[in-house]
Amino acid sequence: MQTQFQFPGARLTMSLSLRPFLALVLSGWLVAVAPGLTAGEETPPMPLAIHGALVYPVSGAPIRDGLVLVRDGKITYVGPAAGRMYTADHRVLRAAVVTPGLVDARGTVGVSGMLNQPQDQEQVERSAPLQPELRAIDAYNAKDELVAYVRARGVTTIHTGHGPGALVTGQTLVVKLLGRGSDADVLVPAAMIATTLGGDATTQEKGKSPGTPAKAVAMLRAELIKARDYADKRAKAADDKKPARDLRLEALARALDGSQPLLVSVDRSRDILAALRVAKEFNLKIVLEGCADAPDVLGEIKASGFPVILHPTMARSNQTRENLSMETAGRLKAAGIPFAIESGYESYVPKTRIVLFEAAVAAANGLGREAALAAITLDAARLLGVADRVGSLEVGKDGDVALYDGDPFEYTTRCVGVAINGQLFPAETAAP
């Protein structure tokens, strides 16, 4: 599979039919790859004509000598460049490879800030083990430097928010990396509820709970029962008998009715099975995250029908992830389990991983190039419920596009252009 498509070099070979027309828009061509564009420079952005020697729509087969047109923030054409005319007001871009803007299925960018100092670490509030009422939209900093950093490598949408590391840390959101602010950029303000089971959910503090993985499950179950009772009473009781609003139980009630799934971070097979057990007991919709031991329990995961947001391929293989495998993504794919690849949460350096790089190593270790690209675009968008807007190059979808000067997964390839809603952002800086 890996050799099915040979990526051409950065030089674009124009089809004959295109040449006369390109002469007409030559001035546009010359400014096309101007570096150093400033975010927000264009309002409204110029329409874009993006030529790719190879265009990956992801929703369909790769297109040689392809063209993507974007106008008013939306994709208006995806197909062969040959014979496709466009007006002279388009800004023309070209690259060896063009993909949808990447969708990071789970990270903490914008919440766990670049500096790793107390004032920029918002991912876990340690005052209580269960705090599902904490909203990501109140914590996300669109101006953190890591937002622009990952965007410069092609990431245009991220599922971020409260992190793993305590039983229930809070909520997550899905946001476009426009860098303006959480309200303006958000796609899904209350996406999931970040839950951790296993050793990472426990505390070592004397006299505090949960101190064991089993206690963590007991506490989560108790809280879900409370939330179910609360929701029942709120729904059925007469107005004067309704219990007072409780933000924490309200959030868990959304998990119970399926409108805001639990995102359960688990790595050990024991903890994966615990998550599935709780989901079954409460008829929950959950998303499994991490899953280093997934190869041990593939059958159980498959039978549950729940999707997996898989740990970064290059995650450190220690502690709960001591047995992680770079081949797990390929195994999930082969087993038919819906999954996406994440940048995850990092407590030290690198402060965030780049989901493109993680998918690359998975691609080279059994997943294959096209499935790896899907795991950070369309499959991630579907898992997050935003595939109507992002994740593939299709007419009507958002103008989120990433441009590369070669195979996006190669270490030596650079991202040379990024657009979100048709607006261009600075890509990776060029060599000195």
Binding site: M114, R316, E410
Partner: protein, 451 residues
């Protein structure tokens, strides 16, 4: 199902025997690896080459059509593969991590030896072999101004730490001295609280070492006049005498300048490690003729000192004329993906040749081992790796790792494949099922009918 499960142990037994055969061969008879592209690092790549090894050394390297293969040599056809020197990692924490260095009792502990804390059976050692690493500098951590003596190792097949040591002509194991500045060694007393205090504490100890060495010299052979033996000052004395190189953790540009200043004052040889802001003082580093061992991590930050790190650093230092090697800092980055550093360096604008030297010959020079390792040249140790393709490509795998003519990793063996990619059992090398019954990964594969 049961019959499927039994296939695993049976296969494992065969692999074990195969492994013994290979080990026993090492290696009186010459072996010629023929037909691969050879990247010797010193000298241009050879499109179709032959590498001849014997007695643990490289005997010949050259094009297939002009390099004679000794009579009686075993010939292994490796057409389609790429051969390059075994990788040299100039900064790693494999083999037990925190156990190899100083404790919390004080900021300067040069007497602590990594050798006394290194665990050769740790899974990280086998993973480093899977990444193609054949020579490695195992370091104590960076939480001290001086955290102890480092160990330069050859990752031979090994039972004890003695099996992996590199012995100097005087019989002592090769290694450097780990030092650090900036925020990591700053703690509550007796550790320093500021940068100025950090440098001052280091200067005091080096002055004491100068006095100590002077007393030893004056005493000559008179035991009555010799000062009482001081292990710490003795090691700093080794550094002052140029017999031990300082391997210095440093990030910020001003901390880098402090290292250069101290190195000049006391005349010790030093290598700068991490050097996150080295691009800001590249000219000064070049002028001091001090090498750099740098790391590629995937985003800036994570600590204040790393906020300005940049993938272009290798290119900038190379352009300034600095000797540049790369390191894993394992577990900061994974030894199995060490070649990725070279790829990222090229992404940042470094030359392909410089990037490949950065994981081989440059690091050999940084460790003072370039006479033995770092390039495929006749007379050097037969340390090499067999790759499935271009060393800078993500799709390339390390297929075999050889140290001194003996194979130490073979991806085609299931237990080595497990080391290379991970999976059930990869995290702990000493689980009982692991030695005798094959790996859990292949059992699962067999049960699923995968193989």
């Amino acid at each position: 199902m049961i019959s499927c499960l039994l296939r695993g142990p049976a296969r494992a037994a065969v692999w074990v025997l195969a492994g013994l055969t290979v080990a026993a061969q090492a290696q009186d008879r010459a072996v010629a690896f023929r037909g691969a592209q050879i990247i010797p690092i010193e000298g241009a790549p050879i499109a179709q080459g032959v590498l001849v090894v014997q007695g643990g050394k490289i005997v010949a390297v050259g094009p297939v059509d002009s390099t004679p293969i000794p009579a009686g040599a075993e010939v292994r056809e490796v057409a389609g593969k790429v051969l390059m020197p075994g990788l040299v990692d100039s900064h790693s924490h494999i083999g037990g991590g925190g156990g190899v260095g100083a404790d919390g009792s004080g900021p300067i502990q040069p007497e602590v030896r990594a050798m006394d804390g290194f665990d050769v059976g740790d899974a990280s050692v086998a993973k480093a072999r899977a990444g193609g690493i054949t020579t490695v500098n195992v370091m104590p951590g960076s939480g001290h101004l001086v955290s102890g003596q480092t160990l330069y190792l050859k990752l031979r097949n090994a039972r004890t730490v003695d099996d992996v040591l590199i012995l100097l002509p005087d019989g002592t194991p090769a290694g450097g001295l780990k030092m650090a500045n900036g925020t990591n060694p700053r703690r509550d007393p007796p550790f320093p609280g500021t940068r100025g205090k950090s440098a001052s504490l280091v200067r005091e100890r080096f002055v004491a070492a100068q006095d100590y060495m002077a007393k030893v010299a004056r005493a000559k052979d008179d035991p009555e006049k010799r000062p009482a033996r001081d292990l710490a000052l003795e090691e700093l004395g080794e550094v002052l005498a140029g017999r031990r190189v300082v391997q210095h953790h440093t990030h910020r540009h001003d901390d880098i300048m402090t290292v250069l200043r101290l190195s000049k004052e006391f005349g010790f040889k030093v290598v700068l490690h991490h050097v996150s802001e080295g691009w800001k003082v590249a000219e000064e580093i070049a002028a001091a003729k001090v090498p750099c061992s740098i790391i590629f991590v995937d985003s800036p930050g994570g600590k204040l000192e790393a906020r300005d790190l940049d993938v272009r650093i290798g290119a900038i230092l190379e352009k300034a004329g600095v000797l540049v090697g790369f390191h894993t800092d394992d577990g900061i980055t994974d030894s199995r993906l060490f070649l990725r550093s070279a790829g990222m360096a090229v992404r940042g604008g470094m030359s392909r040749e410089g990037a490949l030297a950065g994981v081989t010959l440059a690091n050999a020079k940084i460790l003072g081992l370039e006479a033995r390792v770092g390039s495929l040249v006749a007379g050097k140790d037969a340390d090499f790796i067999v790759l499935s393709g271009d060393p800078l490509s993500v799709y390339t795998h390390v297929e075999q790792t050889w140290v001194e003519g003996a194979k130490v990793f073979d991806r085609s063996l299931p237990q080595d494949h497990l080391r290379a990619v991970g999976g059930p059992g990869a995290g702990d090398p000493r689980r009982p099922h692991y030695c005798c019954f094959g790996d859990a990964w292949s059992l699962i594969a067999a049960a699923n009918g995968d193989q």
